[in-house]
């Protein structure tokens, strides 16, 4: 194989989300990343040039690249989460591009749920504003491990170092308040490309990495939980063939921790203990399995295991609970019913639940806890307790983004109405 081909086989995947208010230049930044990293093709460029001309714009509007639906182009807004892809020789990137309007908190939560990093855009003319606070709160609520604050439109403040430093100091106070651990700052101009892919010639006072460089080098492997072995059983494999007559394999994706053949494990909810006999795949047995691998576990003893069960370390098990306290983001136009019944989807497990109490709601603009309003509606973030009809095997979301998360489903409409993070 040629060097060129082998290079492509050795890239890491980084997922990031972008947050900014309507005029912060978010779409332009994404357009710039795609354009300067040569992920935009001639026919796409041609198509947006024609669209820009039709609308009478003077310059090609890079935002049109990300606005895919007819209504979005007509109204010049982004409605839904859009996914964009580009790659450099080091990494492949997936961008969850989410709209910045206040009514679309749910979209940002959606985009943030799988992200390794969040780009938070700040307009250098406006500095840290209410929306910046809101976006940072959500990024932190969803435990995105790395926050990159892009101080944009530096061209409009004469590339002023003083302005940059002021915004940086203001944001650090926000980060402290929210307990955000990893935050980095970059002064950019998405419109002209300064510090996006190429280092800026207008800001020689900034010695740090460009945005792309940072995205290429942030360490992400250790963001995954390799401590607590958790394997939600997704599907039971029982071949109907003579060769594999007695085979029973438990298929799933490692949520966290590491599994090795010979490991002592416990199956929840039965609590029965056994050992991992082998880790099977189409390509043969593995000597270990770690997140986010999809494998099949073969257990030493013949015990009853089915979808919704969880295979965990015998020494370190999650909590088995029916009373759960969690932060939720409500995502549906129909408000949450007090003491309402919903279906919970948690890993491969499903259970009916009843909402017990709304402890408080969060005012995402001031971060205040509101206790005198129990009505939880669209885009509200609240702390609730619920009781489930059967035990759930949970870790706190802070410890484990997979076994600590759930969705709530309306039993009448089947819609996903809330996203939850277990406390």
């Amino acid at each position: 194989m040629s060097d060129k081909t082998s290079g492509y086989l050795d890239m890491e995947l980084l997922r990031f989300t972008t947050a900014g208010s309507v005029d912060d230049g978010k779409s332009t930044l994404i357009g710039r990343l795609l354009y300067d990293s040569k992920a935009i093709f001639e026919d796409q460029m041609e198509a947006i040039e024609i669209s820009s001309q039709k609308r009478g714009d003077e310059e090609v509007d890079l935002a049109l690249l990300t606005d895919g639906l007819r209504a979005e182009r007509e109204q010049g807004i982004t409605i839904d989460v859009a996914y964009r892809y580009f790659a450099t020789p080091k990494r492949k990137f997936i961008i969850a591009d989410t709209p910045g309007h206040i009514q679309y908190t749910r979209n940002m939560v959606t985009g943030a749920s799988t992200a390794n990093a969040a780009l938070i855009l700040v307009d250098s003319r406006n500095g840290v504003i209410e929306q910046t606070l809101r976006h940072s709160y959500i990024a932190n609520l969803l435990q995105i491990p790395h926050i990159i604050v892009c101080i944009n439109k530096m061209d409009l403040v004469d590339y002023s170092e003083e302005t940059y430093n002021k915004i940086k100091e203001d944001y650090k106070k926000v980060a402290e308040k929210l307990n955000i651990e990893d935050v980095r700052f970059i002064p950019i101009s998405a419109k002209f490309g300064d510090n996006v892919v190429d280092a800026s010639e207008n800001m020689d006072w900034y010695q740090g990495a460009t945005l792309l460089n940072l995205l290429e080098t942030i360490e992400i492997v250790d963001d995954r939980n390799h401590q607590d072995a958790r394997f939600p059983v997704q599907y039971v494999i029982r071949p109907q063939s003579d060769e594999y007559h007695d085979y029973r394999g438990y298929a799933g994706r490692v949520a966290s921790g590491v599994f090795r053949p010979g490991d002592k494990v416990k199956v929840l909810p039965s609590g029965l203990e056994t050992t991992v006999k082998s880790i099977d795949t189409f390509d043969g047995e593995l000597d270990m399995a770690f997140p986010p691998q999809s494998v099949t576990l073969n257990l030493a003893d013949d015990i009853d295991v089915s979808r919704g069960d969880m295979i965990v370390s015998a020494e370190n098990a999650p909590k088995v609970e029916q009373e759960v306290e969690a932060m939720i983001c409500w995502m549906n136009e129909r408000a949450m019913m007090p003491r309402g019944k919903y279906t919970i989807k948690h890993t491969s497990n499903e259970a009916r639940c009843m909402v017990r109490d709304v402890k408080f709601k969060v005012n995402v603009n001031t971060l205040e806890e509101v206790t005198d309003d129990k009505q939880v509606g669209l885009n509200d973030i609240a702390c609730i307790t619920f009781k489930s009809a059967k035990p759930l095997f949970v870790d706190s979301y802070k410890e484990n983004r997979i076994t600590g998360s759930f969705i709530m489903i309306d039993e009448g409409t089947n819609e996903t109405v809330a996203a939850g993070m277990i406390l």
């Binding site: 194989m1 492509y8 994706r253 099977d280 795949t281 969705i407």
Partner: protein, 301 residues
Amino acid sequence: MKEYNINHLRELEAESIFVIREVAAQFENPVMLFSGGKDSIVMFHLARKAFAPAKVPFALMHIDTGHNFPETIQFRDELMDETGTRLIVRYVQDSIDQGKVVEETGFDASRNKLQTVTLLDGIEDLQVDCAMGGGRRDEEKARAKERFFSHRDEFGQWDPKNQRPELWNLFNGKKHMGEHFRVFPISNWTEMDVWQYIYLENIKIPNIYFSHERDVFVRNGNLLSVSDFIPMRDTETVEKRIVRFRTIGDATCTGAVESEANSLEDIIEEVAASRTTERGTRHDDKRSEAAMEDRKKEGYF
């Protein structure tokens, strides 16, 4: 911790396998749509990996426009034999004969849009509750907004402005009677990922993806293959060129590209250097800016 590193292809593979297993667990009668193109070949390969050592626990379904490249059909049949997989074929010609659709006329006539009716009829007749497709979000701007688990109403329609939020890897496949889901296991793959993976896994693909000599003619900048299905204008002339296909769809709307690439390494380097998207060779997307969105709303793949 270096030992827990995983490259992008293995991570995408793990995600797709998870999605395919989720379909098998959540639905009673799913099918996997199969066209014989590289994306559906990769998706099927992932399905085999998901359930090994058992066989894939659902059938494949091919919506046959009748306008095929013969190499694709031969490839499909050999693959089904080799893997012992059940294949359902539904023919657009049957929908035409039953009077359910009217064939387009004229030089640019295509059966591409008619496939939607044949597909939805197939889903209804066979009581399919989930159809997996090889659609990718990088292909086209309306597809960029698509979910992994995409809900369809009782008319098979997609409502892009009212999609269910999809978080973490918690997929909600709940539905009412008569509704169904489209699931796209390789949503997050790009064209490049697909080729790299074919190379990494040494997956067999139809030979028309590789460079060969072919009788073609030029229409709207595309190189179309000379065949009985496509009437040629008087001004269009047949030429012999060295070409390959970047995508394989209905023969009437899939253009070839001039290429000398006759190995997977060559193709990967060609894709890396390419300045146009693969759907640039697809005539069907050029009908209007929202051509894909409109077709998808009606129930297209």
